[in-house]
Symmetry: C2
Subunit: 321 residues, 2 copies
């Protein structure tokens, strides 16, 4: 039996949740996940936290596996009433999901810490890993298009990522304070994994919370990122279009360059082997595998390859010292 390894995952939405599920499936892994809250927004007066909820629903195994988000066996009666009452309903919120948003909003109104709410919700759903927030403050991604600034969900859901992205900004970031839980999970980790999430709108808003990037940088942990690109394409979402539009390479090398200053190694897909030399030139070690996570087994296998690599590195360090 191995010593439990403390793993801290930085995770965005669907890709982050899949990586979280993979790591959660491994024995001897004590998993903490720092999720993205910059996609949060108010709908119908309720506070919705899509990435955190996708983590919770995935790890509780109540996620709608066809969509990859939302709850299985969902209804849309509340939204039908809201539509009848004249509300815009492009943000598809299901009835089960509404229950969570109602709970969260009530607790926020009472002054409860968003981190405490997320923890209690995860516990109520029977989630074992810790789901942590990078900050308890409101930080919100804004997307500038040729038609002006959009909220993230307006860009992502209402406009289906169609408009060209000219600029990204995260409101509230400069004044945001990191949560003690996130800082502790980073400082105490044996392994920090950056999930195959959108580097610009999922991972950056976590790392850019003042104090988080430095904490990752200072952490004693081994740090491995998983590239969300497979042959220059992403599985889901607009990361490829966005990286390109903002002058970054929309591939594993672009990801390597983004994370080079804070990670030790990058997990890339086998098809991206030709980029290996350039990624190494960024000072990074390379792990290579089949990175597409479809089944439960795919997720656990990819996770175990990262954890095994980390164990091997630990062993090397121990032998060397």
């Amino acid at each position: 039996m191995n010593t439990p390894m403390k793993v801290t995952l930085l995770a965005g939405g669907v890709g982050g949740a899949k990586m979280a599920e993979g790591l959660a499936a491994l024995p001897d892994v004590d998993l903490s996940i720092i999720g993205n809250v910059a996609d949060d927004d108010a709908f119908h007066g309720l506070w919705v936290s899509p990435d955190i909820d996708t983590l919770t629903y995935s790890l509780a195994d109540v996620i709608d596996r066809t969509q990859g988000w939302g709850v299985a066996d969902e209804g849309h009666r509340a939204l039908q009433t809201l539509s009848k009452l004249g509300a815009e309903t492009w943000m598809t919120l299901g009835d089960r999901d509404f229950g969570l948003h109602i709970h969260r909003t009530m607790r926020r109104a009472k002054g409860d810490r968003p981190s405490d709410i997320a923890r209690d919700v995860a516990n109520a759903f029977g989630v074992k890993p810790q789901i942590l927030l990078p900050t308890d403050d409101v930080v919100q991604t804004r997307v500038r298009t040729d038609d002006g600034w959009l909220s993230f969900q307006e860009y992502f859901v209402r406009e289906r990522c169609a408009p060209e992205v000219r600029e990204l900004a995260v409101h509230g970031l400069s004044d945001a304070r990191p949560t003690p839980e996130a800082l502790e999970a980073i400082a105490g980790a044996d392994l920090i994994v950056v999930a195959p999430s959108n580097p610009l709108v999922s991972i950056a808003p976590i790392l850019d919370v003042p104090g988080i990037r430095a904490a990752v940088s200072d952490a004693a942990a081994l740090k491995v990122a998983v590239s969300p690109f497979i042959g220059g394409k992403v599985v889901k979402g607009p990361a490829d279009k966005m990286m390109k539009a903002l002058g970054e390479r929309p591939d594993a090398l672009g990801v390597a360059r983004r994370y080079a200053s804070i990670i030790d190694a990058l997990m890339i897909d086998r098809v991206d082997a030709p980029l290996g030399a350039e990624i190494r030139a960024e000072g990074l070690d390379i792990l290579s595998s089949a990175t597409l996570m479809k089944s439960r087994d795919d997720k656990a296998r990819l996770a175990s390859e990262i954890v095994d690599y980390a164990r091997a590195q630990q062993l090397e360090t121990r032998i060397a010292s």
Copy 2:
């Protein structure tokens, strides 16, 4: 063809909604309904207004006809999530219904007048009669039992009216201001009808809003109340137990005595004919009919008997003058 008659109904929950449906079904009736808001309360941080919603749902013909409240084709997924998250869920709120509470809460938080919200909701549901609030202020019935004070819904829904009622109080009433719409509907009415609702917890909290009772008293309209009692029993709810517990007669005579100072006539059920002499002794005219409203026809017939009586009285007055 008759001249349209301006009818203003004071109405509580289910009995009030049935009377409203009956009046709304009549041609040549211009109906305004002043509903009860003293049953309102917050659940899960959302503002719920059961009597007003029962009026809206009934008149929109989306009411659950089996229950007499709530919406037909309802789901309970949101409540299931809230239950999972540890909330008390004895107040059965359906998913369609939650949509309305979410909307109302959002608009209240924006500072919109409760009266405007109720009007817009009724319009969105295609309700023709005007649904008015007696006050835009928060007034809430409290029920003292041997175990202390309960909110109205705790008494009514959670405890199913089982505890003996020792005292009733309506918080916020002394500072409440009547809405201009309610005062106007009272002053401008040809006929004011008091629905067969609970006199203590449905009608009293309307009449007791400062200014409303005097407005009814001063109004030129003919005023007719419908007794909710049939042979000393009520169709639904705790009015009989409550009247008795608080030292009032739980029958048509008790109702006559409650309303004698403001009404001209009382509609009683035929089985209550033996109380006729005593009711007349209160200075009231008597209308007598089968007052149990089960079908659509029952409601319209009872309503038309009241309206016909009012037309006959108008004619008499005109001939006399």
